[in-house]
Amino acid sequence: MSAAPAAPQPASAEPLGTAGALDLLLVPPRPRTGWRVLPARAGALCAVELQKLRHDRAELYTRAVQPALWLLIFGETFTRIKAIPTGGIPYIDYLAPGIIAQSAMFIAIFYGIMIIWERDSGILTKLLVTPTPRSALITGKAFAAGVKALIQAVVVIAIAALLGVALTWNPLKLIGVGVAVVLGSAFFSCLSMSIAGIVLTRDRLMGIGQAITMPLFFGSSALYPVSIMPGWLQAVSKANPLSYQVDALRGLLLGTPTHLGLDYGVLLLAAALGILAASSLLGRLAR
């Protein structure tokens, strides 16, 4: 391709300046400063995430399979045997918000592996040489994870609706759901990027990633109420942001009693701490 004689060779044949065709490449863009940098970078990285999803729709479909199976098999079965005290609502309804949170978490946890892969392939290296503070890069990645998880949440909500789960269609509440999904994903992606900054290799991260997602998921209120857990697991659940995310989602989508103020407070704090931790560990990946 590079040698195709038929292709126009503007750069090598003619000095570039003459036609004025490259005028913009002579002028550096005016830098954004102050608070505008962070949202601009986050926006750029979210845009990339959406572009990738557009090119690879298959990922969207394959990712929908697992939550659908959870709802279909686990949800339908446990609805019939009524083994879990859900406060009167069908178990599958109770489960749906948990599965939304679960699939969002799985997407977010993958970001640590992705950032190591981007380091190994030089993509991260190049981004680190742009005028992007490390915290902005991490915030961008965290929100990109949120965007991806949000799309996944829409898919899971649609599947749940098809399975007859009675979810709210109140737009304000749905926006609340979106915010909780984004904040939760921001935290879990930063958790995994922080671990990536500590262990530095993909193999080790894969092992740790699997080792933590399981207890995070089962040690939360995603599948069953905290009250039926043994005491020690209840303590784990209290420290687990996933529980707060599920609590918010359940309250908003099903109208169960909830503590929205606390839930959003914890999620916001967790996301902020996650961004802080991951940004300060990012330098290790640059070396």
């Binding site: 570039l16 550096p28 290296t125 005028p131 070396r287």
Partner: protein, 275 residues
């Protein structure tokens, strides 16, 4: 050590644990020139470049880029740089255009001129027609040119190219260099480049530095370096090539250091990823 210099390094050191990759490097790159950094595998070229790009932390006062300290004014330095790392590093999951647009965005190119600027960068490296294909379908030479476009879109004053022609066939190599030169003619930017190809260094670089074990061992124009060796060897020997100069400087230590598995690995990985 003038602030007009594009790059100034003074006593630069960087160690990975026990390995002193850069060990007292003094270097100054004059504005507007094409400066070639040569040296055997493991000489410390990539490490030096990564220090200058602010990727690796260095103490204040060691590196200046157009007068900005690489330790204290990182953002200012990065704004002046276009960087193409040693590995082929375009994002395979995006089109060529999207790859360049990302860099336009992170350099704050305003929305209204973004599309035009990206198109110009792609045009400058002759990728206009392939712009909307996925980067994973690009050949090695096209990826390198795409990376050049990514680096150019922010109108850098200093282009840092770490082995821009690594793994390319001779035609793709020439093409990459022709694009570098054409862009340089049009923009007057400074180029700092590393390479293992002596013919490229001879043909395209204004000045060369030969690096070995973390230090500069010889410095001059390609012609100057050759005639210097000729004078030392005497007029009876055949006229030395740049390769002879390279051997003369680096030869003594080459055996003990050899290649570097890490680089081989990363190159392979890139090859595998891009299919």
């Amino acid at each position: 050590m003038s602030d007009d210099d594009a790059v100034m390094c003074a006593g630069l050191e960087y160690a990975f644990g026990e390995t002193r990759a850069v060990d007292g490097l003094d270097l100054s790159v004059t504005t507007g020139e094409v400066f070639g950094l040569l040296g055997p595998n493991g000489a410390g070229k990539t490490t030096a470049i990564r220090c200058i790009t602010t990727l690796l932390p260095v103490p204040a006062g060691r590196i200046r880029v157009f007068g900005h300290d690489a330790a204290k004014e990182r953002m200012a330095v990065r704004r002046l740089l276009g960087y193409v790392p040693q590995q082929l590093s375009a994002d395979a999951g995006l089109t060529g255009r999207e790859n360049v647009a990302l860099f336009a965005r992170v350099f704050d190119v305003p929305r209204r001129e973004r599309a035009r600027r990206v198109a110009q960068a792609l045009y400058a490296v002759d990728l206009t027609e392939a712009a909307d294909r996925m980067a994973r379908t690009y050949s090695g030479g096209m990826i390198r040119r795409l990376e050049l476009a990514q680096a150019l879109v922010s109108a850098p004053r200093l282009l840092m190219l770490d082995e821009p022609t690594i793994g390319l066939d001779p035609i793709a190599r020439t093409s990459v260099w022709e694009h570098i030169n054409a862009v340089r003619r049009a923009t007057g930017m400074t180029v700092l480049v590393t390479t293992h190809h002596m013919d490229e260094a001879d043909q395209y670089c204004d000045r060369l530095a030969l690096m070995h074990r973390g230090k500069i061992r010889a410095l001059g124009t390609p012609q100057g370096l050759k005639s210097e060796l000729r004078e030392r060897r005497g007029p009876d020997d055949p006229p030395p090539t740049l390769e002879d100069v390279f051997r003369d400087v680096a030869g003594r230590g080459l055996d003990s250091e050899g290649g570097d598995f890490r680089d081989v690995r990363s190159t392979r990985r890139t090859a595998a990823r891009l299919g």
